[in-house]
């Protein structure tokens, strides 16, 4: 109890002091998570809509279970593959992205992508199957049809974004592997928590954990507000 109280005080202290190191860590956490999430949405939502609207998904028996499997991908395995691809001997080694935020963003995007595709696909499939025909019968182009379906599936889509955000902001294994937890370079909240715990700075680790939880709560609060607004339109 005492440790928790101390952690709370530490957390407030760090926030009030606007500790530069903490600011850098929080900033990088938000940057890596934000860019990873946006990339996963940009790639995943069109794929999910396309799969959801196609009457015959090519090799549907394999593609959809593969996506669902991807939704439960162990992040550390993703990290390992990204590590191998980006390491000196790997096919993308020339880019020298390993142990940079770019590598972390790639890993986060790969982790979030199946979640976004899978939940978008489910949201699209939950729409009344007669609706696409009726929308087309009113004069929609293919693009307008896809957009309308997306709008109809907006609640499921918010769920996809929230789930993907939650999975990557709290992720530690992959970013540790490909980022390397380098102070001032690739250290994010989760990797900093691991480091401080190992160093025995339990109260600092807890304080960072509380900040992480607070950030996740704030982001979810904003998304929930948007969801409520979207539902009432």
């Amino acid at each position: 109890m005492e440790v928790l109280f101390e952690a709370l005080l530490d957390a407030f202290g760090l926030i009030i002091d606007l500790d530069p190191e903490l600011r850098a860590i929080v900033g990088l956490t938000l940057r890596v998570t934000g860019i990873g999430l946006v990339l996963a949405m940009v790639l995943g939502i069109p794929i999910g809509v396309g799969l959801g609207l196609s009457k015959r998904i090519p090799a549907a028996g394999c593609v959809v279970p593969l996506i669902y499997t991807g939704m439960g991908l162990p992040p550390v395995v993703v990290g390992l593959f990204v590590y191998l691809f980006l390491s000196n001997q790997g096919p993308l080694g020339d880019f020298r992205w390993l142990f940079t935020p770019t590598a972390m963003i790639i890993a986060q995007t790969i982790i979030a992508l199946p979640l976004v595709i899978g939940l978008t696909l489910t949201a699209i499939q939950s729409i009344d199957p007669m609706l696409p025909l009726q929308v087309r019968a009113l004069g929609a182009t293919r693009g307008q049809l896809a957009w309308t379906m997306l709008a109809e599936a907006r609640l499921g889509l918010f769920a996809a974004i929230v789930a993907a955000f939650g999975s990557i902001i709290s992720e530690v294994g992959a970013v540790m592997l490909v980022g390397g937890n380098i102070a001032g370079e690739t250290r994010v909240l989760t990797t900093a928590i691991v480091l401080e715990t190992r160093k025995g700075n339990i109260s600092l680790a807890l304080a960072l954990g509380l900040i992480l939880l607070g950030l996740a709560f704030l982001a979810n609060l904003v998304m929930y507000r948007l969801q409520v607004q979207g539902a009432s339109k």
């Binding site: 609706l131 025909l133 087309r136 019968a137 009113l138 929609a140």
Partner: protein, 241 residues
């Protein structure tokens, strides 16, 4: 009645190798109300989907206002035709947004006067901001009809539009359909099980059985002096489904 707006020649439609529609020749005239009656599975809804360009025929020729209908047909031509289905699906938005939808697709804005006029005609003035998917079946079907007509299509296709409605809703829907045909000369193709409705609304009536056009003639003659025994039996209600 003017020229033919649709012309079908030897049109066949197949699903999984099964022929569900086989029409030698059919013309739909500009400004008419044509009723298509027939038992379930006769191919009536398939015919409407072809007329709405939602499907392309397996073989034969379908022309709309002189232009061959195809998947690559110009969107502006396609938008001259709208359809109301037996089971309308509302967008999960307000009644208002559903009314506006056709305009939004066309990049246009629904004027306040037109919106008010339609809400009045539908008897839904007080429900304007209500979530459309929470309306009653009759209200939804009225919105679906207005949603299809408010954009002033040249052709309105109706697929069993009043099959699940009470008499008051049926009367209102029929009144609106009749008014649109008379005032705007909207061509209407009505698919119905209800021969009485066909008789009330249509200038010509056609009988479709097993995908084939058995008879098409003036409604009065269709019911009073049908040419074929199948039509006579169907009109008498003796047709075995």
């Amino acid at each position: 009645m003017g020229q033919a707006i649709y012309a079908l020649e030897n049109v066949q439609q197949n699903y999984d190798g099964r022929c569900v529609l086989d029409i030698e020749s059919l013309s739909v005239m500009q400004g008419e109300v044509l009723a298509i009656v027939g038992p379930s599975g006769a191919g009536k809804s398939t015919l409407l989907r072809l007329l709405n360009f939602l499907e392309a025929p397996f073989s034969g020729s379908l022309t709309f206002d002189g232009e061959t209908a195809s998947a690559e047909m110009d969107i502006e031509q396609r938008r001259r035709v709208t359809m109301v289905f037996q089971h309308p699906v509302m967008l999960k938005r307000s009644l208002d947004a559903n009314l506006h939808f056709g305009f939004a697709l066309r990049g246009e804005k629904l004027s306040e006067e037109l919106r008010a006029e339609w809400l009045q005609r539908l008897g839904l003035m007080g429900l304007r901001t209500q979530a459309a998917n929470k309306l009653s079946a009759g209200e939804m079907q009225r919105v679906a009809l207005a949603r299809a007509l408010i954009v002033e299509p040249d052709v309105l296709l109706l697929d069993e539009p009043t099959a699940n409605l009470d008499p008051a809703n049926v009367a209102l829907m029929e009144k609106i359909v009749r008014e649109e045909n008379e005032k705007n000369h909207t061509t209407i193709v009505l698919v119905t099980h209800n021969v009485f409705q066909a008789r009330r609304l249509a200038q010509r009536t056609a009988l479709l059985i097993d995908g084939k056009l058995i008879e098409i003639t003036d409604t009065e003659q269709f019911f009073e002096q049908p040419e074929t025994e199948q039509t006579a039996a169907f009109v008498r209600g003796e047709f075995i489904y």
